[in-house]
């Protein structure tokens, strides 16, 4: 009976969960400052070529081998913080604070501040993870729950990052589970990362901390090593005389640092690229006896696309700008006292749903302007529906080649009177902010425009960016791979990161999730690297079949590739090859 009483008391108590909670608050240091494992990795940095002990597949190995340390001199990457999958392993002091709800006094979140560049918040209040279209960050989005004596943290929405500071990659498809477990005055963080793009199996790492007493904080003194947040801003600098658009990387087979590492440490080259097999005890005998036969990184796979919610849905982007997803192409909406401005209108059959979504956001405010970023039907199909207001037809703005292509294809939208422009840009001022419509020639098509909302600090990128596929262009519609790269660089001329290479200017792509400057830079890097590989092959006289065999997009196919549909990885490679070879 007494036993039952106690069970009931605990079960009914809102405090019962507290029994399972362990106090992690305080300041924690790695033993010996850098920890007693992998000093090179955590101190000065690991060698290029040290890829052993990681569950990499062949895509992960390819990505790592093409990495150049000069990547960090690229303006958009200079301020990159340590990503979530690495940050606790790296050199840092970890300061843990708990945030309580001011009314219920229940722990709402745990804040992980550190010297790793960007703080993390672990939400304990049961909130869901953001939708797939939300912005990704280096720290990701973390929620926590208690399992026995461990705080279990699940993290999604992480930008591409690394496991080691030598280019061993993690992709945006990675997810992470961490266990924070306290043993006396030690904190053990077990980090498990699953990345279907670059890993053959989940990666696990255990990181130790020791509780370190700190002096009481001195308020207002930023130089006191205390429990307060550290103010730190980073702005890119001109570090080299290289072209600011230069993307440093090694072409396959040209990374001489790999041989240097092999010679310095005596690790055979075949072992360096063996990937996941190097983690297991059997590998010790193989490397001792030189049994390289059959040892290679597991094959890369293209994981199924991330599921996305069905139906038309919207998300506030920034300032006066919203994005509408699920309408074919993405729709960008600016709302203010003067009315509504819409960038791209989605597919014709989905236009009523888009109109309803705009009404939900803007009420009865009329649509005054429609801007088309290019002529494709999934971006102009709703023009007629959305631009035809009861009292006043909205002005339709686009580059003149959009109008010409619409007429050429006989689209319904061609029946609307369009306010086209033929110069580099067109500017309007609406809802209290300047809006630039910037033509980027010969990119996705020959009529592409970016739409930059100056006040809201948002760029609508149209067909130049599709975050769910390789960049697409149609040479017979005036598109080109180099034009696409130039268009991406044009976006990077506009964007400014808020802090630590993330946030700031937000980019609404033509398809897929929201991007910020770093995301656009990664996308530009990807296209530039693949372009360089194919151009190099063409310069060497390789045929299209040779190029296909070399799989120049291997390390990106897991994120952007497709085996079927209208824009397969093969179709992308062929288009780039033919475009660069002058064969349209």
């Amino acid at each position: 009976m007494k036993r039952l009483d106690l069970v009931c008391a605990l079960a009914l108590s809102p405090l019962s969960l507290a029994f399972a909670q362990v106090d992690f608050t305080g300041a924690w240091d790695h033993p010996g400052l850098f920890g007693h494992e992998d000093f090179n990795d955590r101190g000065a940095g690991p060698e290029i070529g040290d890829y052993m002990g990681l569950p990499l597949n062949e895509a992960g190995i390819r990505k790592a081998e093409s990495y150049s340390g000069s990547w960090l001199s690229v303006p958009e990457h200079q301020c990159t913080p340590h990503p979530a999958a690495y940050q606790l392993w790296g050199p840092n002091t970890l300061i843990v604070n708990t945030e309580y709800d001011r009314v219920s006094r229940v722990a709402k979140a745990i804040r992980l501040d550190g010297t790793f560049g960007i703080d993390r918040i672990v939400w304990l209040d049961g909130r869901p993870h953001p939708p797939p279209e939300a912005l990704y960050t280096f720290e990701g989005f973390s929620t926590g729950r208690w399992e026995g004596d461990s705080l279990v943290v699940e993290t999604t929405h992480m930008k591409p990052g690394w496991l080691r500071r030598n280019g061993t990659p993690t992709s945006e498809r990675a997810k992470m589970i961490e266990y924070f477990t306290r043993f006396d005055d030690y904190l053990l963080v077990t980090t498990i990362v699953d990345d279907p793009v670059y890993f053959a199996e989940p990666f696990i790492r255990t990181t130790e901390y020791q509780l370190t007493p700190r002096p009481a904080p001195v308020l207002g003194d930023p130089f006191t090593r205390n429990d307060g947040p550290i103010f730190y801003k980073c702005f890119p600098a001109e570090e080299t005389t290289a072209d600011k658009y230069h993307v440093p990387h090694y072409l396959p087979g040209e990374n001489t640092l790999l041989d240097e590492f092999s010679q310095e440490y005596g690790v055979p080259r075949w072992a360096m690229s063996a990937g996941a097999t190097t983690m297991y005890p059997e590998f010790a005998a193989r490397i001792e006896t030189g049994q390289s036969r059959g040892v290679q990184a597991p094959p890369a796979v293209v994981p199924p696309p991330e599921p996305i919610p069905e139906g038309i849905r919207s998300m506030h982007v920034k300032g006066k700008v919203w994005a509408i997803f699920g309408a074919g192409g993405n729709v960008t909406v600016q709302i203010g006292d003067e009315g509504v401005l819409v960038v791209d209108t989605g597919s014709s059959e989905l236009a009523p749903g888009v109109r309803d979504e705009i009404r939900k956001l803007a009420g009865d405010r009329p649509i005054r302007y429609v801007i088309n970023t290019h002529f494709h039907a999934d971006h102009t199909g709703g023009n007629v529906s959305l631009a035809t207001e009861p009292l006043q037809q909205a002005a339709v703005i686009a580059h003149e080649n959009v109008g010409l292509r619409l007429v050429e294809t006989g689209a319904d939208a061609s029946n609307l009177i369009m306010d086209t422009f033929y110069g580099e840009s067109k500017t309007i001022y609406f809802n209290g902010e300047a809006i630039e419509v910037i033509h980027v020639p010969a990119a996705h098509t020959d009529g592409d425009s970016l739409v930059f909302f100056r006040g809201s600090d948002v760029v609508s990128a149209g067909g130049v960016i599709s975050t769910r596929s390789f960049p697409s262009f149609a040479a017979d519609q005036g598109g080109s791979v180099n034009g696409l790269i130039a268009a991406l660089n044009r976006i990077l001329d506009i964007t400014v990161a808020e802090t630590r290479a993330q946030g700031g200017t937000i980019v609404v792509p033509g398809h897929g999730r929201l991007y910020d400057e770093t995301d656009v830079a990664e996308y530009r890097d990807m296209l530039t690297i693949i372009r360089d590989r194919i151009q190099h092959a063409i310069d060497n006289g390789d045929s299209l079949a040779d190029v296909r065999r070399s799989r120049p997009a291997l390390d990106y196919a897991g994120v952007f590739g497709a085996g079927d549909g209208p824009w397969t990885t093969d179709a992308f490679i062929e288009a780039v090859y033919r475009n660069l070879a002058g064969d349209r």
Binding site: G53, G148, D194, A284
Partner: protein
């Protein structure tokens, strides 16, 4: 006394705040459990806070250049050796070890869990947990009750063990018959703390970084699960004032294997260091 305070708290239905205060006492029920008739003291197996048994394979994702292969003599990267430790490390001679029958120096308890190997963990008896390794064919015994260390020192020393529970934690299992946790029970609720002394001098790493007979090893064993895998983690703290400037703290992780099909016993042996540039 602990049992008494928890029973009284339950019977009186005292405030939850008081329950929280007494949680550490609640977490450690006495021989009779909570309000039940007096019983014999629970065995370690019965009161287990986490099931560690099974086959586990080391995943060498850290310190690969020092664990998977043998580093050169004197390479003490990351290890806080003091001058005496560095001197001894500089004199490492694996051939001398082999000649003197000391090939198992790298397989002593303070270095064993860092080796690339598999573990088989099982109950030798209800109060002794046994950890066997395939590489090195070592056996560690973790004593929850015992008579204390024997006079003779050994590679695996003498280990005392205890279950640890969450700080302020509460072992609900104790309320429902005291069945020990088993695989499939869901999340682990606690961990195992083990302290090992009486060690024969051995190596922290294959390349002869020494620990002395004065070394004391403290370990915390726990389990985590993620992405369909089950992992064993071991946090190790080596305290050795003879050869270390401070405690040597590492953690190792193992993945559960379904059976013994990969179990491959082999005697103690140290591969020679990989030839490096200029050698």
């Amino acid at each position: 006394m602990r049992r008494h305070s928890s029973r009284r708290a339950a019977a009186a239905g005292v405030s939850l705040v008081m329950l929280a205060v007494s949680a550490s006492a609640v977490a450690q029920p006495g021989p009779g459990g909570f309000g039940g008739p007096p019983q014999q003291q629970q065995s370690a197996q019965e009161s287990a806070q986490v099931d560690l048994t099974g086959y586990w394979v080391a995943l060498v994702t850290e310190d690969w250049l020092w664990r998977m292969v043998t580093a050169p003599r004197g390479d003490a990267t990351s290890v806080p050796l003091n001058p005496a430790g560095r001197r001894v490390a500089g004199e490492w001679d694996p051939e001398r070890d082999a000649a003197s029958g000391e090939e198992c120096r790298p397989f002593g308890a303070a270095g064993l869990m860092r080796m690339p190997l598999r573990l088989h963990i099982s109950w030798q008896d209800e109060n002794t947990l046994k950890i066997e390794t395939d590489a090195g064919e070592q056996t560690r015994l973790l004593h929850f009750r015992g008579d204390g260390p024997p006079a003779e020192k050994s590679w695996q020393g003498y280990t005392t063990a205890e279950w640890t529970r969450p700080v302020g934690g509460f072992d609900l299992r104790a309320l429902f018959g005291g069945r020990p946790p088993a695989a499939g029970d869901g999340p682990p609720k606690g961990s195992l703390k083990a302290v090992t002394t009486n060690l024969r001098p051995g190596y922290l790493r294959k390349n002869g970084l020494p620990y002395s007979e004065n070394a004391e090893l403290t370990e915390y064993f726990s389990r985590v699960s993620a992405f369909g895998n089950d992992y064993l983690t071991v946090l190790s703290i080596v305290h050795d004032p003879t050869y270390l400037n401070g405690d040597f703290v590492t953690s190792s992780h193992f993945k559960r294997e379904p059976d013994d099909s990969n179990w491959n016993p082999s005697p103690c042996r140290t591969a020679p260091p990989l030839p490096r540039e200029g050698e």
